[in-house]
């Protein structure tokens, strides 16, 4: 038999050919790139990460000075990206649940209002909304010099909202330890209470005791004087406000834009998920004498969650990736910090590789976490 007619031999040839093609393309690109870089006198490698950054980042969730390394600056960017996407995902989900419930209301007026809300958000690009919210903040609020002093210590101006900040003066580690212990105890108590209720059929005060376990330890620490708090009150200077907690307009515009877009997606996902559960489930549960809100919580939602989780995962991945639009309005997220680094060092390939790698890694982490949760709520087929 001719070897060319052997299926396995052919398959092997195709695969070797494909890999060879990709490898050849990659090698050509690599060779040209290093050639070009050498001609333009641009260094290669990741050595630049240890160099001094030398630029200011307007919003830092962790301590950062321009004298810190570029690696630290990029880390600040990562923290900012995670901060805004996490907040947008949480707040957007809560808002989206309300809109989703409004979409399923039996009142036609409310249903249409919710539909209009979803459509207006979904049919206009997110970037346009970001620009719109940002310029509205700048236009509507007065400049810093005439900052509105709405409450003592609270200033509102077009450079953001400045609030008095609370910080832990001493005993921060102790406090963190006690809070963690409190959370663990609360979860344990609640679980025991639930099990006992199922076993005996009598209601108990598991939830209340759990709440106490959550709040009591930190309160005790504070009363014993082991932990003390301080206030950082903003001071109105001649040109700017110093001190306090500064919520910047870039952050607010980005958070607002992202959370609204999340809420529109969540509303549609929740509606589709709940409507997919047939009316028979509602009727059967109602026949057992359950109240409408209990039918929802105990019968319909657990089933709907299975349909809701996969598209919800996509929504969270999207909001995480969309947070990169921050660069358009100047919020220092990962992409914007990387862009600054790129302009300073000229090492475009390494910088883009770093931020693409970070996005990819975090996207995979989100997928894994959501898949784990999905497996927990999935139907167990016996």
């Amino acid at each position: 038999m001719n070897i060319l007619n052997d299926m396995r031999f052919r398959a092997l040839c195709y695969q070797i050919g494909a890999i060879g093609l990709v490898a050849a393309a990659a090698w050509t690109m690599f060779a040209t790139a290093s050639d070009n870089l050498a001609k333009q006198n641009i260094a290669t490698g990741f050595g630049f990460l240890a160099r001094q950054a030398g630029f200011v980042i307007s919003e830092t969730a962790i301590a950062y000075q321009p004298t810190d390394s570029i690696a630290r600056a990029i880390f600040v960017g990562i923290v900012n990206t995670v901060k805004v996407s996490l907040l947008a995902a949480i707040l957007g989900t809560i808002l989206g649940l309300f809109v989703g419930v409004a979409r399923m209301s039996r009142n036609p007026l409310l249903t249409r209002l919710a539909l209009a809300y979803v459509e207006v958000l979904r049919n206009v690009p997110l970037l346009l909304y970001l620009f719109l919210w940002y310029s509205l903040i700048i236009l509507v609020f007065p400049p810093v010099k005439q900052a509105l002093n709405i409450l003592p210590g609270v200033y509102l101006s077009n450079s953001g909202l400045v609030l008095p900040a609370v910080f832990v003066e001493n005993g921060a580690v102790l406090l963190a330890l006690f809070v963690c212990a409190g959370v663990a105890a609360a979860i344990l108590i609640r679980r025991i209470g639930q099990q006992r209720r199922i076993a005996t059929g009598k209601s108990n005060h598991g939830m209340a005791i759990a709440a106490l376990a959550l709040l009591l330890p930190p309160l005790l620490l504070w009363m014993l004087g082991l932990v003390s708090f301080g206030w950082d009150i903003p001071q109105a200077g001649r040109f700017r406000l110093t001190g306090g907690l500064h919520v910047r307009p870039e952050f607010v515009a980005l958070l607002f834009g992202l959370l609204l877009s999340v809420s529109a997606s969540v509303a549609e996902i929740v509606r589709a998920g709940i409507q997919a559960i047939g009316p028979g489930q509602w009727e059967a549960a109602a026949a057992l004498g359950l109240h409408r809100s209990r039918v929802m919580r105990l019968v319909v939602l657990p089933q709907a969650l299975r349909l809701i989780i996969p598209p919800l995962t996509n929504t969270y991945l999207t909001v995480f990736k969309n947070s990169s639009l921050a660069i358009a309005i100047g919020y220092p997220d990962l992409v914007m910090v990387s862009n600054t680094v790129m302009n300073q060092t000229g090492q475009a390939i390494e910088t883009i590789a770093i931020f693409m790698g970070v996005y990819l890694g975090l996207s995979i982490a989100i997928s894994l976490a959501m898949n784990w949760y999905n497996a927990r709520v999935a139907l167990r087929v016996r």
Partner: protein
């Protein structure tokens, strides 16, 4: 007890519930529902009053920047003066009939192609051999005495449409190829396809745009430069291909295995089975989600403004930054842009729903 009492009443004594129209019950059936209705009405009335006051009552209909600055309403003269710039960007002013004609031709062709009864191979050839070349000649010039307009002068709405439409057209075969590769039985090819798709889907579009505009020139041999517009277009094609591949994969999984096996048992080769049996069935199923994807891409093209292309959102924004109008017509500009995006996206959304209905009717 109450039940026995009710039973002991003579038949017909209980009053039937008052007949209310369905309309009334829907809005004011229960106290809570009435409250919701009233609150919704108040919200609609308030929003309507706000919009009417801004758009009509307090609006400025004629005048210039100074009159607009003095008024609190919408500034229509701004839209009138900047309309051509916002739609066509820096395209030479005397030649702007060309993008206008191109836009009209494009939208008309799209409208015709959207009707399922015209779907045929001839339509595909008409697009490739007639419509697209005419559009290109109209925009770029260089033939029939039309002056040459470099791509750096293209902008506005035609550019936004071009980036999303060409992006989808070129990404479609690429995406189908990737989907087939991902479903392939050859492990090496499958791994390559999965790697490409997952990497592209795991990173934001902006990073691919950065890669195309900043990194790509470094990978080119000396002396070779690629047009900036083309580079952004390539980025959008790559991005779109990965998402299309996932949608097509869903369609492929819906085609029963038996179809493939039946084709093979007839002696057809892999490509013949795919081209004649599997793909026609798979692609038909993915047309509605594909329209949905296209809406997303149309909105995502706004991102090219970050890498410095003058798409519609960018021309609107630079019209706002004109020193004469700065800070006066911000809301007007953005709301106009939002209205344009909304109109096209919502129409496409309607079309997607129509297609779903159409396929449900025609294919059981």
């Amino acid at each position: 007890m109450a039940e026995t009492q009710a039973l002991s009443l003579p038949l017909g004594a209980a009053k039937p519930p008052a007949r209310r129209s369905g309309w009334f019950k829907a809005y004011f059936g229960t106290p809570l529902n009435s409250m919701i209705s009233l609150a919704s009405m108040a919200a609609i009335f308030f929003l309507g009053k706000l919009a009417f006051g801004w758009l009509v009552v307090n609006a400025v209909f004629s005048g210039d920047a100074a009159t607009c600055k003095a008024s609190s309403g919408a500034c229509w003269p701004f839209l009138a003066e900047k309309l051509r710039y916002m739609i066509f960007g820096f395209y030479p002013f005397e030649e702007q009939w060309r993008p206008l004609l191109a836009l009209t031709l494009f939208l008309a062709s799209c409208l015709i192609s959207m009707m399922p009864r015209f779907w045929s191979r001839a339509l595909l050839y008409a697009w490739l051999l007639v419509v697209l070349p005419i559009l290109y000649v109209l925009m770029a010039g260089g033939f029939f005495g039309l002056s040459v307009v470099p791509t750096s002068s293209w902008g506005g709405l035609p550019l936004s449409f071009m980036l999303s439409f060409i992006g989808l057209v070129c990404a479609l075969p690429l995406g189908i190829g990737l989907a087939l590769a991902r479903a392939s039985s050859l492990p090496a090819i499958r791994v390559l396809a999965v790697g490409f798709i997952e990497i592209v889907r795991g990173v934001p579009l902006i990073s691919i745009l950065f890669m195309a505009t900043v990194m790509l020139p470094l990978f080119m041999p000396e002396g070779v430069t690629i047009d900036k517009l083309l580079r952004a277009q390539v980025a959008i094609i790559i991005f779109a291909a990965a998402y299309i591949a996932e949608i097509v994969r869903g369609g492929l999984q819906d085609v029963p295995e038996g179809q493939f096996e039946a084709g093979q048992s007839l002696g057809l080769s892999y490509w013949q089975v795919m081209r004649k049996i599997v793909l026609p069935q798979a692609l038909k199923k993915v047309i509605p989600p594909m329209v949905g994807l296209f809406i997303g891409f149309f909105q995502d093209t706004t991102l090219v403004t970050i890498v410095g292309l003058l798409d519609f959102l960018d021309t609107v924004r630079s019209a706002l930054r004109d020193p004469e109008w700065q800070g006066i017509a911000v809301l007007e500009g953005y709301i106009f842009a939002a209205a344009v995006y909304f109109t096209f996206s919502a129409l496409m959304g309607l079309y997607s729903r129509f297609l779903e209905q159409h396929f449900r009717v025609t294919h059981g």
